[in-house]
Structures are given as C-alpha cells and as structure tokens.
Symmetry: C2
Subunit: 119 residues, 2 copies
Amino acid sequence: MKTEIDVKSKDFIDKFFEKSELIPAIIQEFETNEVLMLAYMNRESMRKTLETGYTWFYSRSRQELWNKGATSGHLQKVVRIYGDCDNDTLLVIVKQTGAACHTGAHSCFFYEIWRDSGE
Amino acid sequence: MKTEIDVKSKDFIDKFFEKSELIPAIIQEFETNEVLMLAYMNRESMRKTLETGYTWFYSRSRQELWNKGATSGHLQKVVRIYGDCDNDTLLVIVKQTGAACHTGAHSCFFYEIWRDSGE
C-alpha cells in the first residue's frame, strides 16, 4: 500500500538535513515500544520512506540506499515519524515483520554491557 | 551513589570507538519505554557515565563534555546500557528526573511529522 506524503512532510525533509547529510533514525516497535535498531537516513532515503511507508536507510559502509527487509523479508511498516526538538534526529515507529537485527535477534540491542548494581 | 565499573565494561569502551570518536546514545525511560532523546558519547563521556551512574555526553556544538541535568537538575540515572550488534550505538535505559528536553517537554521527540493514514 502506498502512502501519500503531505505538503507539510515535504517541507520538513529539508529542515532535517541543514546540519548534516546523514541523520540518525531510531527505530521503535509500535506494539511493544522496544527500540529495535538505529540506522542513518539521507534526504533521499527519508523521501522514499515517506513515499512508500516502509523504511529506507543510507548504508554508510556500502554507501548506498537500502530498503530494510528487501532481501530478508523483514520489512518495517512505518506507523509514525517524530522529529526531535532540534531537527537532527528521527524517531520512526514501525510494525516490524520478523527480526530487525541481521543476527536474527528481534532487536539489535540484545547485548547488555552494564547495569546499575542497585537495580 | 557511585556505581563501580566492572572489568568487562572497561574492555567494552574501546570496542565502541573503533569506527568513530563519537557514537549515538539513545536514551529510553525505564518505567515507560518512552524514547527521551538522542545524544552523542565519546570515550570519556562513556567512561564518566559508567563511573558515576548518570549520563554524560559530548556536545558537538559546544565541543565539551556535558553532564545531563547538571544545571537544570534533570538528571538521568542509568539503569541499564545495551550495545548494538555492530558496536557503534548505545541504548541507555534511565530514570529521568523532570524533563529530558531543554524545551521542557518530557521527551525531545514531541513533534509528529508523519503518520500512516491507515493507522
């Protein structure tokens, strides 16, 4: 299903790329509020995300646009997008099909490196 | 209350700064799972976060270390820290005192820029 971009959204794209060509996009699961991953968007991947309703990123290592799940089937259907207070980060709320992480884990943040000893 | 860094955590610091001097840290609230903000950590701010149990960041605009809430009182007590699958992003779970955002909003992501028309 294609989703329309409204005029307001088109105007917002430029605002997010004034400071940098690439901005971080936090991907959070709609149903559970679990943080699934972080990836980077450039102007074009943000535009394609808004046009298609599925997440597109820019891969810094491969230097190319990347439709999350295009090969694995683990697509992310976008439900909401929030900008932050200074317009340099996105919070993208998605319905995740399958696993978000390339390791097969549901979230990329499966690795606890520290916990407060009092908790 | 000071919290000890264990040896495992010390080893992990280096691993996160192999690709870049600065890595994004997603700040998520422990009680609600709300994503509050994103800020950047360098090696030193990660070390100070682990040592003190409160968040320290590196401000890209001011080019200095920054103890979140030091002036506003809106401290973030760290409960858990997760690394991601490729060791270049942190997910920091905190107990937030007051507002995370400098605007006074609880979360920096208060600005909805898009929603799926079907939701």
